[in-house]
Amino acid sequence: MTTMGTTDESLRQDLARRGVHVTSLESLYNWGRAHSLWPLQFGLACCAIEMIAATMARHDLARFGAEVFRPSPRQADLMIVAGTVTKKMAPMVVRLYNQMANPKYVIAMGACAISGGPFREGYNVLRGIDRYLPVDLYIPGCPPRPEALLHGVIRLQELIRGEKLSGPGRSRAADPAVPGEYPIPNYGPAGLRPPFNPDLWQPPSDPDAAPDDGSDAVTPRETTA
């Protein structure tokens, strides 16, 4: 309960004991939204299997209100990018995000969705979906265990419950200046154009960091035995 206005915490608890619950509209709204996340039923690779495992009997994602996987992006509000995003697939992923209704969130599940993972050196692998989409949460692992995905969903719920609906620092969905759609890259003979969305991602500026201008060129590497 972040913004309680004039009600102080002890009075609120006192009232709650008498069966009167006082809350703000914002808290109620966020509480409802955090516990009814509908993920997009959308798997890319290995991580998708752990995502399915998380919804099954043992891990039971339903306990956290996020088990209603919808095959249509129109009905979903959480995109779990579970697996390697290839350059051929990236335009579809961005298009699916654009088709989702606001408010919407993105979880990058697994090393491949975060950075390309083990396949980062591949000529057809996108080095992280955050080059085209605003990622709210990263879940590392190859693949992350179902428990890690559960933890990720809980963290996302915390994030949603802390969101503001108005004023400075308000949530992305409530801010008209933030676009709900992002340009879809073009997949051609030279890979993806543009190679990244400069509004969302910039090449690292650290001079010691590995040279990565986001281009499609694969740096030749000597193999060490």
Binding site: R58, P118, A225
Partner: protein, 386 residues
């Protein structure tokens, strides 16, 4: 063939008031589709509900496996093979290890051979278990069967995790043996899982085989002439469902499969029902193998002491190694030029080659059957696109 206009119905056969000529509908299924088992796409041409033409579109999960493997050492490719068919990492490991062992002429200790058989058969069990769940999901029974399947699969994955440290990406086999020995109590735990499986299979069979809807949806669907299957190079349960007895565990007798007695279940018609039943019967045979392998598991080293992990350079030459993976013949072809990395690295993925007859299976079927037929082939996109 006119692709936008269907041929008129022969006189008197139209199931509706024939308007003269009907227009064909082109439908793109996938790559985001709940029943395409990943990011597979099909462009179907429909006449009403009937499939006239079907074109698969590949490459949405092309992760450059072969190209990457040619740039790294032999051992470094082992974890990448886990991610080919990500349900069956251990059989992928085995096919790759077998090929490199052939190339380098490495012997495998007896205990390691037994461990490989145990792990491969456990992999086959869990693969066929979730296969049933996904296939039934494609038919509309989304949820229950898959949930039973995953519950049972998790029991097997616990064994993998206890042994290798990972549920799915096991990376357990090494050239000339296995990475580590069994932890204490593992064999007893595996015995418990194996003993619990027949009960689960009985339950599944009771649930499935007598079910009228399932029989209506699967019988007589997706069958192809056995000769066509052979010509297309199809292997695995798909081939055996059509009545052809070809199982590399019997044909090649790689590893120590000649020491176990097991039968090869065969179908008759090769339709979806046969493919489903073949998997159920194969699981029973796997349990027999597991039973005797766990009983006879000898003591001894798990890796050949001559196997080199570092600076491994097999002699120049080429080798093709193949095993019966749960999906069919999984082969690796390697050319060595005595350098630390393979000169050529090629995977023969059963999923991709089994898919080649997809159009033939689907043409003439209803659009709703396409998903069932695709599900019965049992593909994994990590292996199809690599």
């Amino acid at each position: 063939m006119n692709l936008t206009r269907a041929a008129p119905w022969p006189a008197g056969t139209a199931p509706f008031a024939d308007p003269g000529e009907t227009e064909l509908l082109e439908l793109s299924l996938g790559p985001q589709h709940p029943s395409t088992h990943g990011v597979f796409r099909m462009n179907a041409l429909l006449d009403g509900e009937t499939v006239v033409r079907l074109q698969p579109v590949f490459g949405y999960l092309h992760r450059n496996h072969e190209q990457l493997a040619e740039r790294m050492s032999y051992l470094a490719s082992m974890p990448f093979t886990d991610r080919l068919d990500y349900f069956c990492s251990l059989t992928n490991n085995w096919a790759y290890a077998l090929t490199v062992e052939k190339l380098a002429g490495l012997e495998v200790p007896e205990r390691a051979e037994y461990l490989r058989v145990i792990l491969a058969e456990l992999t086959r069990l869990q693969n066929h278990t979730v296969f049933l769940g996904f296939l039934l999901g494609d038919m509309g029974a989304w949820g229950s069967v898959l949930m039973y399947g995953f519950r049972q699969r998790d029991a097997v994955l616990d064994l993998f995790e206890a042994l290798t440290g990972s549920r799915m990406m096991c990376d357990y086999l090494r050239f000339g043996g296995c990475r580590c020995d069994l932890p204490p109590g593992w064999a007893a735990a595996a015995r418990l899982v194996v003993d619990s499986y027949p009960g689960f299979l009985d339950e599944m069979e009771q649930l499935l085989t007598e079910n009228e809807i399932l029989r209506a949806r699967t019988m007589g669907i997706g069958g192809v002439e056995a000769k066509r299957l052979v010509n297309a190079g199809v292997s695995g349960p798909l081939l055996r469902a059509a009545g052809l007895s070809h199982d590399l565990r019997k044909v090649d007798r790689y590893g120590i499969y000649d020491r176990f007695s097991f039968r090869i279940p065969l179908g008759e018609k090769g339709d979806v029902y046969d493919r489903l039943m073949i998997r159920l019967l194969e699981m029973r045979e796997s349990l027999n193998i597991l039973d005797s392998a766990l009983r006879d598991l000898p003591e001894g080293p798990v890796i050949n002491p001559q196997a080199k992990l570092r600076n491994f350079r097999p002699p120049a030459g080429e080798a093709y190694g193949r095993i019966e993976s749960p999906k069919g013949e999984l082969g690796f072809y390697l050319i060595s030029d005595q350098s630390p990395q393979p000169y050529r690295y090629r995977v023969r993925p059963p999923s991709l080659i089994n898919l080649t007859l997809l159009e033939e299976m689907c043409v003439g079927a209803k659009i709703a059957d396409v998903m069932v037929i695709l599900g019965s082939i049992d593909i994994v996109l990590g292996e199809v696109d690599r």
